[in-house]
């Protein structure tokens, strides 16, 4: 084992892993963090704690991770870190701090552009890109060295390192698989994909991934999102770059009476998970129930993913 991460243990034991997402609040509200995290107790192996998601200021991922860790739910925070807001000094300082506070799993991302958020006038840092960030975190763990080359004093921070992948974005599925190969080579122990709605296209990507042998070098967690309403489906289809929502899903939601749409959205999500489970090389699920954490338990239950292994 490279780390003490629960996610690593679950994956190493051969279970389908489950991660879920918890977005920190836009205020100094620790109770809100605990309230949302409580919905995830016992239903996932690690909780992604987002880092200023959609480029909106929120409580820091590190602080919210610590609050979740200390809340007594037995949850394992997965620290998200974007290269948009920090240079390499700041990232490494936070990694040392996070590890000191018991956080052993993280996700390296470039982050949404500031244009989409509440501070469009801010500078995007991007001192490193997400792949260079992976190299840095791996170097800190495996060689005990800072990115600048000097030795880290004491025990190196042993992070189980994740990265994101979007099989649906441009230029094409081949490049998306090659980009995954770079992330794996840079040090990604696990991958969480963009929300999958187009399972056919995800299968195409996985086929290339398997040909390249990448599924054996990294654990691929398939990203899924339950859709709350036909409006949400249309928004994701039309407005979110790099998101691929097939028309049949929008039509199915549209044909459902409004009050039944949330239920239908969960049904679609679970059906997709059953299909994705059969794809060779998928090691688990990353459930992004945005502002809908209370439904993750139901989704996991219906998808046959409960109880979670206690290792």
């Amino acid at each position: 084992m490279k780390t003490n991460s629960n996610l690593e243990k679950v994956l190493a034991a051969g279970h389908l892993a489950v991660t879920a997402e918890c977005g920190p609040p836009r205020g100094a509200m620790p109770d809100k963090v605990r309230e949302r995290a409580a919905f995830l107790e016992g239903v996932c192996d690690a909780v992604n704690v987002t880092d200023n998601q959609t480029a909106m200021v929120r409580m820091s991922s590190l602080s919210a991770s610590v609050i979740i860790k200390q809340a007594g739910f037995g949850l394992n925070p997965l620290l998200q870190m974007v290269s948009r807001d920090r240079n390499r000094l700041s990232m490494q300082a936070d990694i040392l701090g996070a590890y000191s506070l018991g956080i052993d799993t993280m996700l390296c991302l470039s982050g949404d552009h500031t244009k989409f958020g509440d501070h469009p006038n801010a500078m995007n840092v991007h001192d490193l890109d997400s792949i260079q960030m992976l190299q840095m975190v791996k170097g800190m763990r495996d060689e005990g060295k800072f990115q600048g080359g000097q030795d880290i004093k004491g025990d190196p921070p042993k992070m189980f390192i994740g990265a994101a992948a979007n099989p649906f974005a441009g230029p094409n599925v081949q490049v998306r698989a090659m980009r995954l190969a770079k992330k794996v080579r840079a040090g990604a122990d696990f991958i969480q994909t963009q929300c999958i709605f187009n399972v056919d296209k995800f299968e195409q990507w996985m086929e290339i991934v398997r040909k390249m042998g990448l599924h054996k070098q990294t654990a691929i967690l398939a990203g899924v999102t339950p859709i709350k309403s036909v409006g949400a489906a249309r928004y994701m289809q039309k407005k979110v770059p790099g998101m691929d929502v097939p028309q049949e899903i929008v039509d199915r939601m549209a044909a459902t009476p409004k009050e039944k749409q949330p239920e239908e959205g969960i049904k679609i999500c679970v059906e997709m998970m059953e299909r994705i489970k059969k794809i060779e090389g998928v090691s688990g699920f990353h459930i992004m129930a945005i502002e809908w954490e209370e439904k993750v338990a139901e989704i996991c239950e219906k998808a046959g993913l409960l109880p979670r292994p206690q290792l």
Partner: protein
């Protein structure tokens, strides 16, 4: 070239409000090519400033002149007598020219332009950013297209998840740099090169190392 756009007239009128004798100084280099601060633009701005001043009952004296290169001390020296006759200088050069004037003359120098970026001409009347001046050129391994200047996230190792239909997630007006790089690598039969990881950049050669200077020992006096 260095590209620029003229500032709003109101801002310029604000700068020169206390003064009545103005030297309006253009530059014959990049800002002429991008139609922002050459001889023609000097003429247009002089008329606009005079007209606006006259409306508010003020008579402006504007001397119009365009230097061959405003970033060069040798040319800047030429306007010494004109500067002596003026209360203030309004420079239509890029920021380099404005500073060359400010360093040489003890008179107020105001920029008439907003200097934008190092770019090239896409087509008549359209310029786009091409170079970030990072001081350590990557173009040899990125198919001749710069991800630092042309990717909104300066990603050095491939397209982010927001690349769709060839355009950047920030706006459909901006092509995805990595989409362009991939097309070039395909054209050149070099797609395997994409798998090479470009390591963390040394920003010392860019602005990370503070203001930069080039000293050519063989030329320096």
């Amino acid at each position: 070239m260095i590209t620029a756009e003229r500032k709003p007239l109101e801002e310029l009128l604000g700068y020169i409000a206390p003064y009545s004798r103005i030297l309006l100084l253009g530059c014959n280099e990049c800002v002429t090519v991008c139609a922002a601060g050459g001889r023609k633009e000097v003429g247009l701005l002089a008329s606009a400033l005079k007209m606006a001043a006259r409306k508010s009952g003020k008579e402006l004296q504007i001397v119009e002149h365009t230097l061959e290169r405003q970033c060069d001390p040798e040319y800047v020296e030429e306007v010494a007598s004109m500067v002596a006759q003026a209360d203030a200088v309004v420079s239509m050069a890029c920021g380099c020219g404005v500073q060359q004037m400010a360093m040489r003359y003890a008179k107020p120098v105001f920029p008439a332009l907003n200097t934008k970026f190092m770019g090239g001409s896409e087509r008549q009347g359209v310029w786009d950013e091409r170079c970030a001046g990072c001081g350590n050129c990557l173009l040899g391994v990125t198919g001749g297209i710069c991800p630092i200047a042309r990717c909104a996230k300066r990603l050095m190792n491939g397209p982010c998840g927001g690349s769709a239909n060839g355009v950047c997630e920030i706006t459909p007006d901006v092509p995805c740099a990595w989409h362009l790089i991939w097309e070039r690598l395909e054209e050149l039969g070099q797609t395997e090169d994409y798998l090479e990881i470009i390591p963390a950049k040394d920003w010392k050669t860019a602005q990370g190392g503070g203001p930069r200077k080039i000293i050519r020992e063989d030329l320096a006096e």
